[in-house]
Symmetry: C2
Subunit: 296 residues, 2 copies
């Protein structure tokens, strides 16, 4: 690398796990601001020199904010989803974009399986039952639901060509399975793809696991369906409004709620730190990006 | 069947799920008593006619109680473990004994996997974090531990000949794995097989999953090891004293507690009801038992 391109890292205050790795390799500006005006304000005159942004906190990068970063060439997203990025504007400007690629895949898959077993076998409710000494007071805990033999549909299996049955739409996926696992990207076409009709099709023993994005589900309808028994249960790592989650669910034993932490292990953090550095190094050495996002 | 043998079903008041199936096929006496004197008292003069006992509540059947059942020929245990039965006395008397065989295997295995992921990824703690609105108040939840790549040792793999590495003792099993899953029977040799030394060998990142019996672990030492960080976590479906569980663990996030419900699904209950009937029918038709316990 003949020069040292300036890298802006936008991250929450506690997400310092890749600071050292990046600053050993590039001049780094760090900001915790999550909205445009204070962020730009904090950069002073440096905004015009920034050549790469590492976006760790789902910072909304729209055409306006991008217009204040005239030297930007590379946008490294540490998430898999890029719904917060104006990809069309990046394409127009010739800004390359990368995402988390496979960095989180194992942990998210583990979490999805863990949530599924936790919902069916009511593990957090069972745990509450023991800790609150209800086991001693009231005896036997309620029955769980058998996992083995369940038909599981996956919305967002990725591009791997495998021999699982394929359903062309989410309604038939729901009708033909007892569990649907959401691990796909959120975009305008996918918003509320799991709506009332899909949940009715999944049915009263059906279970939804969401490790994708909250917006994939019509959450208001899902709450009604869970409260009314239209579906049987849900394991949710993501919500329409975060942090938070719908409080109508906080008293239910057939839901398991998780604070968007499907990726939160040291292994995943190390993966994403290494991947971020590798993408930056590759780009500024004119090598192919490791995890490019297709702009089309 | 030329005659109708009298069957005593000993069960908790709520465990009525096989009543109808059994009473359609045999004359059945039901008792909820769990100790010898009131139990015998409740049977009046029928004790001497009882030819089979279905033991659903871990009723302790020692030589003394057996001596009051002179016509007993078959003892059907609805558990896998038979630590509550005086097998030597059964052998001496020529009483055949059956257990739950494979009826619960799938559900217990599912539960063990669910407990493991729940401990590593702290699913019940995460669920508490969302429900108590700590996510909103305090932000990011703590990191979990990665599942993929963990070495898992199983104490009580059964007699299936497979190619997993075999360790001749529990200490080397613990030393060479990061997780040990207990799914073996409890007997005098196995009591407290997981002692302080084994836990030290498993180490500070080690996790114990127990879906066998509480008595397999020296629970007092385990509590100390969990509180002091000698081991990393535990997922426990069974305890030395049930119902209950050690209250020193009730505030810890690195343990998941479950009220002995690894088998509690409708699927398992149906399996054990069918198996119980099949063993009774087989025995009284002079056919081989479906799930005999070897008396030696």
């Amino acid at each position: 690398m003949s020069e040292s391109p300036l890298v802006l890292v936008q991250r929450p205050p506690t997400f310092d796990f890749m600071d050292e790795l990046l600053s050993r390799n590039f001049p780094v500006l760090t900001t915790h601001h999550t909205s445009s005006a204070p962020l730009l304000n904090s950069l002073y005159r440096h905004a015009s020199s920034i050549r790469a942004v590492v976006n760790m906190a789902m910072l909304k990068l729209d055409a306006d904010l991008l217009s204040h970063l005239p030297s930007l060439q590379l946008l490294v997203c540490t998430s898999v989803g890029t719904e917060h990025i104006d990809l069309a504007e990046c394409k127009r400007r010739g800004i390359a974009v990368t995402n988390a690629g496979e960095a989180f895949s194992e942990d998210v898959a583990d979490c999805a399986v863990g949530l599924l077993i936790s919902v069916l076998r009511k593990i957090p409710a069972a745990d509450r039952y023991v800790r609150s000494e209800k086991w001693v007071k009231f005896g036997e805990f309620q029955l769980g639901i058998k996992l083995s033999g369940k038909r599981v549909g996956i919305l967002g299996l990725g591009s791997i060509g495998i021999t699982y049955p394929y359903y062309p739409d989410v309604l038939s996926l729901a009708a033909n399975n007892e569990v649907i696992i959401l691990c796909c990207a959120l975009n305008d076409q996918m918003r509320h793809i799991v709506n009332r009709e899909v949940m009715e099709s999944l049915g009263k023993n059906g279970v939804i696991i969401n490790v994708g994005r909250g917006g994939l589900i019509d959450e208001k309808e899902m709450v009604k369906c869970l409260v009314d028994g239209v579906i049987g249960g849900a394991g949710l790592d993501v919500f329409e409004k975060e942090p938070g989650g719908p409080e109508e669910l906080f008293g239910l034993d057939n839901v398991v709620l998780s604070p968007h932490c499907a990726i939160a292990t040291p292994g995943s953090l190390n993966n994403i730190a290494q991947l971020t550095l590798a993408n930056l190094k590759a780009f500024f050495s004119n090598q192919p990006l490791i995890s490019p996002v297709r702009l089309d």
